[in-house]
């Protein structure tokens, strides 16, 4: 069955430190992969996406993610975290089988300490 796993429910990093959020997926073929961010009380906003080509993808707000087929992973990284990055981050896979359904991970909440 197709699935997305975000192993970390929450992560705390110091402002200025580097960040890596983990995402593993289970899917029968090369998926479309997304990272979304949700600020408190808001909807989700796309950070970046991978459809094909270069496996290192650049996104907004200084984020990047690397697709590793051998590890079925799509981890999100940022070299220096800002206090405004505190939010919940969702990894997603889709659309599945050429259809319309996107599967979201359970999310990782990022806390940033001064």
């Amino acid at each position: 069955a197709q699935s997305v796993t975000q192993p970390d429910i929450h992560i705390t990093v110091s402002e200025g430190a580097s960040l890596e959020l983990r995402c593993n997926y289970s899917y029968g073929a090369t998926p479309y992969l997304f990272w979304y961010v949700q600020s408190p009380g808001q909807g989700l906003q796309l950070l970046l996406k991978y459809f094909s080509g270069d496996t290192l993808v650049q996104g907004i707000k200084g984020f990047e993610a690397e697709f590793k087929r051998s590890q079925s992973s799509f981890n999100l990284r940022k070299p220096s975290v800002h206090w405004s990055d505190a939010a919940e981050y969702f990894c997603a896979v889709g659309p599945l089988g050429g259809g319309f359904k996107t599967i979201f991970g359970a999310g990782t909440r990022l806390f940033v300490k001064a």
Partner: protein, 111 residues
């Protein structure tokens, strides 16, 4: 910029009431989606629509129905609200098989 709006940010209803949640997008997207978001469960798809008057069940359609009479508008209906439908409801739209654009969400409390 794509804009997806939802009719209410917060809603309080009583058990048994009929509840309408409205979603409007302004980018002529074919696809529209309704999700519910609960802590620790991520987003779960309730229904989606790929064209006017077309709809498909998602993973958790029980207790919900939808309506899409116009391309820009997708409504979620709780026929008889129950306390276990207390949740955050998110609407999204997308062009065919592409990035989804989300509304701000409606936080529904059923008493």
């Amino acid at each position: 910029d794509v804009k997806v709006t939802q009719s209410s940010r917060y809603l309080v209803k009583r058990t048994g009431e009929k509840v309408f949640l409205e979603c409007v997008q302004d980018m002529d997207h074919e696809n529209m989606f309704w999700y519910r978001q609960d802590p620790g469960l991520g987003l779960r798809l309730i229904y989606f629509s790929y064209d006017v008057k077309m709809k498909e069940k998602g993973d958790i359609p029980e207790g919900y129905s939808v309506s899409r009479e116009k391309k820009e508008r997708f409504s979620l209906i709780l026929e008889s609200a129950s306390t276990n439908q207390t949740s955050m409801y998110l609407c999204a739209s997308s062009p065919a098989q592409e990035t989804q654009y989300f509304g701000p969400g409606t936080r529904l409390l059923v008493l």
